[in-house]
Amino acid sequence: MNDSHDDETLRALLRDAVADVDPRDRLADVRRRTRVRRTATGRRWLPVLVGAGAVGATVVAATFVVGGLTDETDDPDQAPVASAPPAPGPSEEPITRAAGVYFVAPTPTGPRLFREFQAVGQTADPAELALLALQRLSLGATDPDYETLWPADAFASVIVEEDRIVVGLGSEEALEAPRSPAAYLGVQQAVYTAEAAIGKALPVSFERDGRPAREVLGLPVGAQVRRDTSFSLLTPVNITDPGEELAVEEDTFVANGTMATYVRDVTWTLRQTDGAVVREGTTTPVDITGPDARATLGAPGWETRPIDVGDLPPGDYVLEASVVDTGQTSDRPEEFTDTRTITVR
């Protein structure tokens, strides 16, 4: 097989491989999205403002700088929160969606929420995506460090209204079970997960059999529960990629994730399972883009350079992202981390 024969065969092979792909006409979608962007320019950052409200104006401004200076951050996923997302129409076929699902894990200052992405199924409907994501709270996390406070079959329905998300609870246990003193975090698990799926900061109304729930996980709740953006609720550093158990088959991989608006530096290490550090480095701020990243709720992102694992022996390694932060109630700096176990092949 000589080179030019190879070339021609490969050309024919690749053309043929996608010859039966018949792209659907999406010009109307493109037009709608560019129109929304233009009319709502001034509101583009509202999701960040909502998320960072408790942190203060100076930190919020710093977030804008990160977003504003990076030329390639034309992230359509940061669509203005004030305009309705395109309604699913006949042209939008369901595709497999990943959703950000929030779990609970320990930190030096007590348990906090951490997010991992899970493939939740095929849907183009935001309410259905939210329900599928919430149901993952009952099933638990892929990352063994993460826990859930929700019992089995806790979620039965989701309705997205203009100003709230109505979450129908599916079992009495979801209302009453005093499963943990951290029930408050459990309630917020649901609020964060539902909002992430919808891509909007909307309060959640919990219901059981069509009537407002007075208690959720044993915790008395009001008619609407808002996302709690307090300092100590969400982990200050979270890994998005790689996912737990990722098999790395290439010479390099890039890790990324989110961080709290008040975090300055995220560092990382790659360790063998015996704890020996084989790679380490710093990260740079980025916007996390891409079609599966809609659930990131506009948190600032970080990303590593490509991490070279080409000459590492095959096996399991632990990637750890960490930040050092001094909390509001203490003078002592604490290290916060998130880890993923990956396999180098």
Partner: protein, 200 residues
């Protein structure tokens, strides 16, 4: 909310308002018209390119749509028609890449649920759909750079220099990814039996 006033404006002053349309040969001054022209000329081809990279048509359509929206936003900073297409192409490749990164999670779940597809025996005659699946599967098995280089070279017919620019790598690297990628696919070509160019 005073910080609101300090926000950077998203769109710079449009170039056409300064009368510099001639400085941007071949580019409509209006982003809407420009993006629409790109859509009409390249939508099908770029979706198929993305399918070669990410395998899934729905995802590919989302990716190219996102890329077109990104081009729209950047329109006033593009200087000529070729640049617009090059930027669009680059956006499609980059976004396909980040879709795959997130796919790490998705794929793991799907793999658990479905298990791997059984590979056809080497002597089995593979035709039509099965062959397409086989080629797409084989591309997915390649390291990411090799897959990108092969798709840009053999599907879009880009030159080495264009591929180097699209991927932000050297021409030498393009060459080596292309030859390694082609070498990896060769056993599959051999397994396909009759020369597929002669098939309808």
């Amino acid at each position: 909310m005073t910080s609101y006033a300090a926000l950077p404006t998203i769109a710079p002053a449009p170039a056409w308002s300064l009368g510099v349309t001639e400085a941007r040969p071949g580019l409509p001054a209006d982003a809407d018209a420009g993006v629409e022209a790109l859509y009409l000329a390249h939508w099908d081809q770029l979706v198929r390119l993305s399918v070669l990279l990410v395998r899934d048509q729905g995802t590919a359509e989302e990716i190219v749509q996102d890329a077109l929206v990104a081009v729209h936003q950047k329109w006033d900073r593009l200087t000529e028609r070729d640049k617009a297409l090059a930027y669009l192409r680059q956006a499609v490749v980059n976004r396909s890449r980040s879709a795959l990164r997130h796919r790490g999670v998705v794929g793991r779940y799907l793999a658990r649920q479905q298990g791997p597809d059984p590979a056809p025996a080497a002597d089995q005659k593979v035709l039509g759909d099965a062959r397409r699946q086989l080629v797409l599967d084989a591309l997915q098995q390649l390291p990411r750079r090799q897959r990108e280089v092969l798709a840009l070279r053999y599907y879009l017919d880009l030159s080495e220099a264009e591929i180097a620019e699209t991927l932000g790598i050297s021409r030498g690297a393009v060459k080596s990814h292309a030859s390694r990628g082609a070498a990896s696919l060769r056993p599959i070509l051999a397994g396909l039996g009759p020369d597929l160019r002669s098939e309808p």
